[in-house]
């Protein structure tokens, strides 16, 4: 009997040893998020509130207080909408990452996409099925070029993309918010009686309408899902994806083998920029209806987190984005007992730290499988 038990344990250990690399890629983000919840719980406790009550409200705020409410998507719709926006910026970071580039510029590309969408959404008055795709294509090209510019600078001038994309973020923010929105494209130029600062409202035909009443959830989620599928196919099935991965994993070997790594980097940053831009467009065409006076949405920066927690894979990014979209929407519910909604940011932040430091979690996970073989005898027999 005893031997049988040992055999089984050994079998499990062997299986674990063979699979631990693959399994830990899923396990690490999940464990990180669980730890993050614990850390946030301690902080909530320190403010004198009950973490259990807080998390209950968080849960209800995210998904709804009953199964029926959940299925109606009235409550969850908000989180899914946020998740769709985050998916697109997250994918942007993921695609660049696959080519070995760290796209901190999702925020800037998002803003470029948002202002371009606001402009053409205002100018166009076409049937939605023609107008909206057309706007998304224009946005994709503009933001794509904005992203590709950073790759071009890296190739031509050798400037690291982290530096350039951060700088391009600020260029985009200031050009748009301190000039375009208050200057040439201000609402007052079109409607002198307007009260709210920002750009004029987009035409009704350019709007992504709510899918059903009582929620703001719109077809952004379909755009996000289509993007996930397309990016998945590009990365895993196409020649371009093969070249992107080769460049990202070993640029020297890729170059040596005759792959045009410069072109590959530019193309992947173009795709990355386009995705962030489309994310911004979804935000304007769906939620905002125009580029508001002060925007600073932060979805671009959050995209980095989604990509990292999603293990820089398209599907993982999607799962992480929907999860954190729901979490943020639900966090509003915690305000009922006086916990600020930014607690969601703490959870997200702590989870990111643990994912980034995944070597530590992996080390602990791998310890499980370490077989302790015969130890050297440690007896001191008086000799050295």
């Amino acid at each position: 009997m005893k031997n049988l038990a040992f055999d089984n344990i050994n079998k499990i250990l062997n299986w674990w040893n063979a699979k631990k690399e693959d399994i830990s890629t899923f396990l690490v983000p999940i464990i990180s998020i669980i730890i993050a919840f614990f850390v946030a719980a301690i902080m909530i406790k320190m403010t004198g509130k009950s973490p259990i009550a807080a998390y209950k409200l968080l849960f209800q705020g995210a998904l709804g207080s009953s199964l029926k409410e959940f299925l109606s998507l009235k409550q969850a719709g908000e989180g899914i909408l946020k998740g769709a926006i985050l998916t697109l910026t997250g994918l942007s970071v993921t695609v660049a990452f696959k080519a070995g580039l760290f796209n901190i510029g999702a925020e800037g590309q998002f803003i470029v996409g948002a202002i371009v969408a606001a402009y053409f959404g205002f100018k166009f008055n076409l049937p939605p099925l023609i107008g909206i795709p057309l706007i998304l294509i224009i946005v994709g090209i503009t933001s794509g070029l904005y992203g590709a510019f950073a790759a071009w600078l890296k190739i031509k001038r050798g400037v690291h993309e982290v530096i350039t994309t951060i700088m391009l973020n600020w260029i985009a923010i200031h050009l748009v918010e301190n000039w375009i929105v208050v200057g040439p494209f201000n609402i007052l130029r079109y409607n002198p009686q307007a009260v709210l600062a920002g750009t004029p409202y987009i035409s009704d035909s350019s709007r992504l309408k709510p899918l059903f009443s009582g929620t703001r959830l719109n077809s952004s989620i379909f755009i996000a899902i289509i993007a996930v599928i397309i990016i998945y196919i590009i990365i895993n099935k196409t020649i371009l994806g093969y070249e992107i991965k080769a460049t990202g994993l070993n640029i020297i070997a890729a170059k040596y083998a005759g792959i045009n790594t410069a072109k590959t980097m530019i193309v992947s940053m173009f795709i990355a920029g386009a995705l962030s831009g489309i994310s911004g467009a979804c935000m304007i065409l769906g939620t905002e209806g125009r580029y508001p006076g002060v925007f600073r949405p932060g979805y671009g920066f959050d995209g980095i987190t989604m990509s990292l927690i999603g293990n820089t894979t398209p599907v993982g990014t999607f799962v992480a984005a929907i999860f954190f979209g729901l979490l943020r929407a639900g966090a509003t519910g915690m305000q009922l007992i006086g916990i600020h909604k930014t607690f969601a940011d703490i959870i997200q932040g702590v989870a990111t730290i643990f994912v980034a430091g995944q070597a530590g979690i992996k080390y602990l996970l791998f310890l499980i499988g370490e077989k302790r073989v015969v130890k050297p005898r440690e007896a001191h027999d008086g000799s050295y």
Partner: protein, 510 residues
């Protein structure tokens, strides 16, 4: 009899690998004991156990008859064990004596470094063993052979009685090797015990008293020098008969395929590394480029890859001048390459074997289907190559990082030969490979030559160059200082050329 080192049933297990399997050895005082084996046979692990860097899972270590428990490098040094690593542990901007006394400095007046005493002591020890060095010379300016001498002195200065030399000849020219062997003999006379790790059988047979062959962590045999030969040792190492000399077909070289004219290439520092060289490479021919590391080989290879721009001169292939210095342009015009650094240049390690087998060819007709990878063809192609090149394990879906060095090199050779190139540029194609894998690569190079390709072989291994090349050009200080046919070339002559002690009149090398 008391042994310098005695190992009893040493076993060392790394997760998933049995690195040392029940090894028992007795090493006599004052002998030169060689340990040979393929890569991954467990040589380095065993040395690290003796030096206290690893703790064995089981087994006993005795030094000078005393059992050692909880061995650490510090304890090993105290017991008189010294290790000379393959990669030197020297501070290049320090002088020779500073490097030697580092960590054991002489102090005067409580806090001031006594330089004079340091220099004296270093002189004393260098005279004692006949290891001539200038104590005040800056180490970074010294040739590799002398740097190694400094390493040995460093170990002796710490009172080592047992010296472990890990692949000491890998970086040396034939002349330097000869000098090292003289040093070893001098140390032996002084009753020092020497552990000599190598995979070069000729050298081991020359210098060692006894030779231990390791394979898969096991001792395959311990032979006295007089009772064995290269063939037997190779068989023990690999487990089968190894062809040490690869027969070449009698072929007249055909028309020139690759021509290099007045080529000048700059180094990273912006000074000329290749100073106007000329050579021609023809069909049915292997041209070997010999030379000590750092005489322009790196720059030459990179320029022929398209990874480094040329400063002036011309590269012609099939009479056509290369106009676009991009790796893909070279490949398009009939170049293929076997790199010296397979893990950095040759392979995308996280990719599967299958993906690596067509790296760079993904836009060729067969490998694509529209914009998609043609997975059906790729599957057939890679399982064929895995079979044809005997890549083990026979699973093209395995991560290439999980393969042994020899099998990784086979993946590269399979890919590059499948380009069906006109010129195959092989740069140190067997670096770090064991005898079996080396034989394979050599066979493939000769096969390419015999089938009418031109092969450019750049190597630091003189033996390899002499065995394979039809002609040998020697690179020294960025220039070709001599060119010999295979028949003319002797180790002596090439050595002199490599060290710049001799040069032929500038003639058209063709």
């Amino acid at each position: 009899m008391e042994y310098a080192i005695e190992l009893k049933n040493i076993t060392k297990i790394f997760p998933g690998v049995l690195a040392n399997d029940n090894i028992s050895l007795k090493i006599k005082k004052g002998e030169v004991f060689a340990i040979v084996g393929e890569n991954g046979a467990g040589k380095t692990t065993l040395m690290n156990i003796i030096y206290g860097l690893y703790t064995p899972n089981s087994g006993e270590i005795y030094i000078n008859g005393k059992r050692i428990l909880h061995n650490t490098p510090k304890k090993a040094i105290e017991l008189g064990i010294g290790m000379v690593h393959q990669h030197f542990m020297l501070v290049p901007i320090f002088s020779v004596y500073e490097n030697i006394i580092l960590g054991k400095e002489f102090i005067k007046n409580g806090m001031i470094l006594d330089r004079k005493k340091g220099i004296e002591e270093v002189k004393k020890i260098s005279d004692q063993y006949g290891l001539k060095v200038d104590p005040k010379e800056i180490v970074g300016n010294l040739p590799v052979g002398i740097q190694q001498r400094v390493e040995i002195l460093k170990v002796l200065f710490r009172g080592a009685e047992i010296l472990i030399l890990d692949e000491p000849t890998a970086v040396l020219t034939p002349q330097e090797t000869k000098e090292l062997f003289e040093t070893i003999n001098a140390l032996k006379k002084d009753n020092k015990t020497i552990l000599f790790i190598s995979h070069k059988l000729k050298e081991v047979l020359e210098i060692a008293d006894r030779i231990c062959v390791l394979k898969n962590g096991k001792v395959m045999g311990i032979k006295n020098k007089q009772e064995t030969n290269e063939r037997e040792l190779a068989r023990l190492m690999v487990g089968r008969d190894v062809v040490l000399e690869i027969p070449k077909k009698e072929k007249e070289p055909g028309e020139p395929i690759l021509e290099v004219k007045d080529l000048v290439i700059m180094s990273d520092k912006g000074i000329p590394a290749i100073k106007g060289i000329n050579f021609k490479l023809r069909k049915y021919e292997i041209l070997g480029i010999a030379g000590v590391e750092g005489n322009g080989q790196k720059e030459l290879v990179e320029a022929l890859n398209g990874l480094r721009p040329i400063y002036s001169g011309k590269i012609l292939i099939n009479g056509k001048e290369i106009s676009n210095f991009d790796p893909w342009f070279f490949r398009k015009n009939g170049f293929a390459y076997i790199p010296e650094d397979r893990r950095v240049r040759g392979l995308v390690l996280p990719f599967s074997v299958s993906y690596n087998l067509f790296l760079g060819r993904q836009r060729e007709k067969n490998f694509k289907k529209g914009n998609f990878l043609n997975s059906g063809y790729i599957k057939v192609f890679s399982s064929n190559k895995v079979e044809e090149y005997d890549i083990r394990p026979r699973n093209p879906n395995l991560k290439v990082d999980d393969l042994s060095g020899g099998n990784q090199q086979k993946v590269i050779v399979a890919r590059e030969v499948s380009y069906d190139p006109d010129v195959l540029v092989a740069s140190q194609p067997t670096r770090g490979l064991d005898v079996g894998a080396m034989e394979f690569v050599h066979k493939k190079l000769v096969e390419q030559r015999d089938s009418g390709k031109a092969v450019l072989l750049i190597s630091l291994e003189l033996e390899e160059i002499m065995m394979l090349s039809d002609r040998i050009a020697v690179l020294f200080n960025g220039e070709i200082v001599g060119e010999l046919s295979q028949e003319e070339a002797t180790e002596e002559e090439l050595g002199l050329l490599m060290l710049g002690l001799k040069r032929y009149d500038k003639k058209e090398v063709s």
